[in-house]
Symmetry: C2
Subunit: 337 residues, 2 copies
DNA sequence: CTGAAAGCGCTAACAG
DNA sequence: CTGTTAGCGCTTTCAG
């Protein structure tokens, strides 16, 4: 294992100079830098992060806390974060909180995060006041991606605006009988903007004078499997909405399956619209209000590193892009055909 | 920030004793241990992993390399690994290789992994001989989960056996006209046992004298969206198989959607069977040959830590459980009703 | 522009 | 059972 001192010895230089040359610290002769780097290369030098970390107090790693890895939004954000972090020379230390609802030990923060990471990115997480206090005591930059997270600067879409856009799309198509597929993901620690979305839907629907039968307010809990189950009985009954607004594309896909299995057609009998821009939306010809989780993750990575490396902390909320993508799952209601 | 020396000073002990007491090293008076731990607790001591790492050469972290995070199998394995690792006091350092097909810099191994992790777990990865050599030169325990990975001890199902089981299920139901939905995921670095599965299918089908029209061999590339697209034309043509054997549940779900959209019924018109035991399989009433990726991940975590902590390296292949789960998507073919 | 020296916080012989 | 003494490999004043 080759160290900095060996390079120094080899070249008749001091450890300090070699260290500076390797890191590109200004104030070293260009020739020296070149020589040192060449030697490091040929000798097969690999920096020891632990040693550097001890000396600097930095680990070149950031913690990423996710509520679960199985949902598309979360793992997409994580993909973006990992890519962003790695391109900046940082590692991703994963903290998957799946199935740890309400049981996250405070210990987590103190003993695990401390000194192990330079920053923390929380994806769609809800934290208790106690946990938040522990985080703050870590005194490292923190940032959230997803719905606005109390105590965190956050990057994310405007959930209300997105849902309003989606709802207005079907309203504009002439639908007056609307269903909503949303609910809460009780299994995870994420809130996912569920409240904002549902509220925006109701507001837009009622403002337009649409009919929203209470039995059409479905709790798909943000999972495709549950969506499939709760949607099924509605479209096998004799009263169903002409348009179903879904709070996520995963739920929308489950709903479309249930609707077809019930013998109805999308969009002829019922229009379906989702939110997210899921990678499968195109194949399912699903109209959706798309957001770009990987981009959000990459942005989070860049911003946290900027802060870690001394930059100032930015705005408290960074609005992310979204866009209505109209496909074949939405159309005018039967009556107005 | 409180250190070990502060505790030592406070208690009038030496750093060494405090260190030993804290780590539970045998050979310290019980009273001393108790006193030290109590003091550490009240003083709010938190160990510095970097310092410990420098001294021991261990980081208490393991690298997990995945081909992508968006596919259920991969993220499920990762969930299991993270849970296992964390329960043993180790951190998960993520290396998501999504979209880095063929472009993985050798640099990766040398500069990133070295000294940063104590072990490496590769999930469904294919490595070049060159990469493999670099891994080996790291001289840390390595283990793979998924299909047998050259150069790695691996934990995984017997892909051929699983596919044989699935195929024989529809054969036993009386199907004689079989389709296969498989292919390769060219986007990722994973092979995923695709070859073994396809071969096992063909063997079982031909052995039973079944008809497998070449146009029924579909390349869904292990993605639901692509499966949906390639399956659609087949069931809109005038010649289709009575049973479709899918190499993954994700593809099977896409296929079922396509079949229904084409106006056919599952299982009345066509039976569909998958492989994986996807979390959505139950909701879709999909018959599948299930495997348990989270359990595989947890096992991998336990085994790698056992090795890291001095245990011997075990068998070269650890067969994982699988089980045929019969649901409503498979039934006898039309003719024999 | 380069070198010497001190030290980051902890562990690991080696003594006692 | 406990203390002393060296480092682990790198960064960082402070001199020159």
């Amino acid at each position: 294992m080759v160290t900095i001192s060996q390079i120094a010895a080899e070249l008749g230089l001091s450890k300090a100079t070699v260290s500076r040359a390797l890191r590109g610290v200004p104030g070293v002769a260009d020739v020296t830098v070149a020589t040192v780097r060449a030697a490091a290369e040929t000798m097969g030098y690999i920096p020891d992060v632990a040693a550097a970390g001890l000396a600097t107090g930095r680990s070149r790693a950031v913690a990423v806390v996710v509520p679960s890895l199985s949902r598309w939004f979360y793992n997409s954000v994580l993909t973006g974060i990992d890519r962003g972090l790695r391109s900046l020379g940082y590692d991703t230390v994963l903290y998957d909180l799946d199935r740890s609802v309400g049981s996250w030990p405070h210990v987590f923060v103190r003993s695990d995060l401390r000194r192990r990471v330079d920053g923390l990115i929380a994806v769609s997480m809800m934290f208790s006041a106690e946990e938040l206090a522990e985080f703050s005591s870590l005194d490292i930059p923190m940032i959230a991606v997803g719905p606005t997270t109390h105590g965190f600067r956050t990057i994310g879409i405007d959930d209300a605006a997105v849902m309003t856009t989606a709802t207005e799309h079907v309203l504009a198509l002439g639908h007056q009988e609307l269903g909503y597929l949303g609910g809460f993901d009780s299994q995870s620690r994420s809130l996912g903007g569920a409240v904002e979305r549902e509220h925006a839907f109701m507001t837009a629907a009622l403002d337009a004078g649409a009919v929203v039968d209470p039995t059409w307010m479905l709790a798909g809990r943000y999972r495709q499997s549950i969506a499939l189950e709760v949607v099924t009985p509605v479209f096998r009954s004799d009263s169903w909405p002409t348009a179903l607004v879904c709070a996520s594309d995963e739920m929308a896909i489950g709903a479309m399956y249930a609707i077809q299995a019930a013998g109805l057609r999308v969009p002829q009998d019922v229009s379906v619209i989702g939110v997210d821009g899921h990678e499968y939306a195109q194949a399912y010809d699903l109209t959706t209000c798309a957001q770009y989780p990987e981009a959000q993750g990459e942005l989070a990575a860049r911003q946290i590193i900027a802060e870690v490396e001394g930059g100032p902390s930015r705005l408290s909320f960074e609005p992310a892009d979204y866009q209505l993508v109209v496909r074949g799952s939405t159309g005018p209601p039967r009556a107005s055909r």
